[in-house]
């Protein structure tokens, strides 16, 4: 019992100093800090949209039509006379939600899969990782297109489909982390104390593998958001009246010559978010000293 407490304390101390160090290093990386700031800003806006959006999401003004940015409509209006800033704010809610939820799906599947394979080792590990190899070999973009065509467009499927693609790398990272952590003394101590594998994984392994997981997560979100945008571009993603940045871009591209602001502003929003996430991910990788997590 005492050993348990001591090891927990040690671990906690080790944890805090590690995180403190990482935070200090991250703060020195200017690009990463800007990325973090931008991201927090976008997320805050997305959360507050229903209260702060300048116009109603659905309200049309057919007489107004598409107008360039003005004092009344900072980012202009679309062909129905709807305020573009409002559209982008609501679109951001969906785009970010897809990014986070689908990544969470990938995270859960990937971590569980990788942790079990890494912890069990041997034949179980071989079979599980072979399956990952097999799935890696599939042309996934093609499968997602097919899935969306077959089952129709719905949000849940979108999350599942994207999550199902993105968990593979996560599983590989988790497995290698678990394999190296298993050799560590504090894990062996926990094993000798008779703790169940699930508890060990939850209490000792996951917290220690957190660094690479966080880094990979920040890099997965942008690729998920891109995927959603791709699908929306092909007409297979989000369904109107809901909108997303990808959908707004695909509408905007149709009329980019007459109404360039309809393409440029949603494009800018998506690009800025992706930039921020990538900078933050890179910064975190340097700060947490994680190698080779991007492949």
């Amino acid at each position: 019992m005492t050993t348990q407490i001591i090891s927990d304390i040690e671990e906690a101390e080790k944890g805090t100093s590690l995180w403190k160090d990482a935070w200090l290093r991250l703060r020195k990386n200017r690009l990463a800090v800007i990325g973090l700031g931008t991201l927090v800003f976008f997320i805050a806006i997305a959360l507050l949209t229903p209260w702060i959006a300048p116009y109603s999401y659905q309200a049309q003004n057919l007489d107004l039509g598409a107008t360039p940015p003005s004092a009344a409509h900072w980012l202009g209006t679309d062909i129905f006379g709807r305020d573009m800033l409002t559209q982008i704010m609501y679109g951001g809610r969906i785009s970010l939600a897809v990014g986070f939820v689908a990544t969470a799906v990938a995270l859960v599947i990937g971590i569980t899969w990788g942790a079990i394979a890494g912890y069990a080792g041997g034949r179980v590990d071989a079979v599980m990782m072979r399956l990952v190899d097999i799935l890696y070999a599939l042309p996934f973009m093609i499968f997602i297109v097919l899935l969306m065509v077959v089952f129709g467009r719905n949000m849940l499927l979108l999350f599942l489909a994207i999550g199902a693609v993105e968990w593979l790398t996560m599983a590989r990272i988790m497995r290698s982390q678990v394999q190296s952590l298993r050799q560590q003394e504090f894990v062996e101590a926990a094993v000798s104390l008779g703790l169940s594998p699930a508890t060990i994984i939850r209490r000792h392994i996951v917290p220690n593998a957190l660094g690479p997981i966080i880094v990979y997560t920040t890099l997965t979100i942008p690729s998920v958001m891109l995927l959603e945008a791709f699908l929306s571009f092909l007409g297979l993603g989000i369904q109107p009246p809901q909108t997303s940045w990808g959908l707004l871009i695909s509408y905007g591209a149709e009329t980019m010559e007459e109404f360039p602001w309809l393409l440029i502003f949603p494009g800018l929003a998506l690009t800025l978010t992706l930039f921020s996430l990538n900078f933050l991910g890179d910064g975190l990788r340097d700060a947490l000293d994680v190698r080779g997590s991007r492949d």
């Binding site: 093609i142 097919l146 942008p222 871009i249 393409l263």
Partner: protein, 310 residues
Amino acid sequence: MWRFLTSRVLQSIPVILAVITVTFFLVRVAPGGPFSSEKAVMPEVKAALEAQYRLDQPLFQQYLAYLGDLAHGDLGPSFKYPGRDVNELIAAGLPVTAELGFYALLVAVIIGGLAGVLASLKPNTAQDYVPMTAAMIGICMPSFLLGPLLVLVFGIYLDWLPVSGWGDIPGDKLLPAITLGSAYAAYIARLSRAGMLEVMSQDYIRTARAKGLPEWQVVVKHALRGGLIPVVAFLGPAFAGLLAGSFVVETIFQIPGLGRFYVQAAFNRDYTMILGTTVFLSTLIVVFNLLSDILAAWMNPRLRAQFGDH
């Protein structure tokens, strides 16, 4: 080494079989059939059509028949384009997509390589950040945004380059290649930056410097060769990825490639064409992954020694 190779090849077979099976049954679940149209098809006509394409048989029997044809290399007739068969459609689309992929890779190597090398020469300075950030645009700007923007600027405002087509007008391959390639430029920039940083700290570079060679000669003549090896290893999988992912660019620029055929087939419920393209692309990806594994093994000195033994 041969054991490694054989086992890898054997492992690929169930992968491809799984792809075929899943795709075959998946497309049949999709609502809407290949023959539906705005003007409703009369039941008599529909029955006659289904009989002609074997669609009236039990699904499992159709599946076995498909596998049988596949074993002979026959991917079947296209439903959407009567008179064309899938083999021929793939044969028509593949060279276009492969050419596009090749140019895109070229663009990626040139932009990414340049950015990576520049960045590696003065790490953690403006010369590092600016090119690496520029290269990142490719990742952060989806091709369906970058494509239209390039068209807007170079095709319309400046009127320098054609806006669509493939091989119709000189220069019409440039914008699609840049659009598709830029997504990979950032990866190549990272790889070459890391590779160069590692090489620049090697002994033979120090020797070259000690000999009093100017810095640019050290870089070009000595460092570049070693620093870009990781990039070369990356090209195989990247090319496979480009082939499978080119359909957005092909759609934007109206390029008659495999990706566009695939997407159209999916929308048209051209069962045989969807299957054919999926099987073909999966096989291609498997083969490219295999090749890059072999290349990696061959470049890895320890594994290479085994190569020599056998």
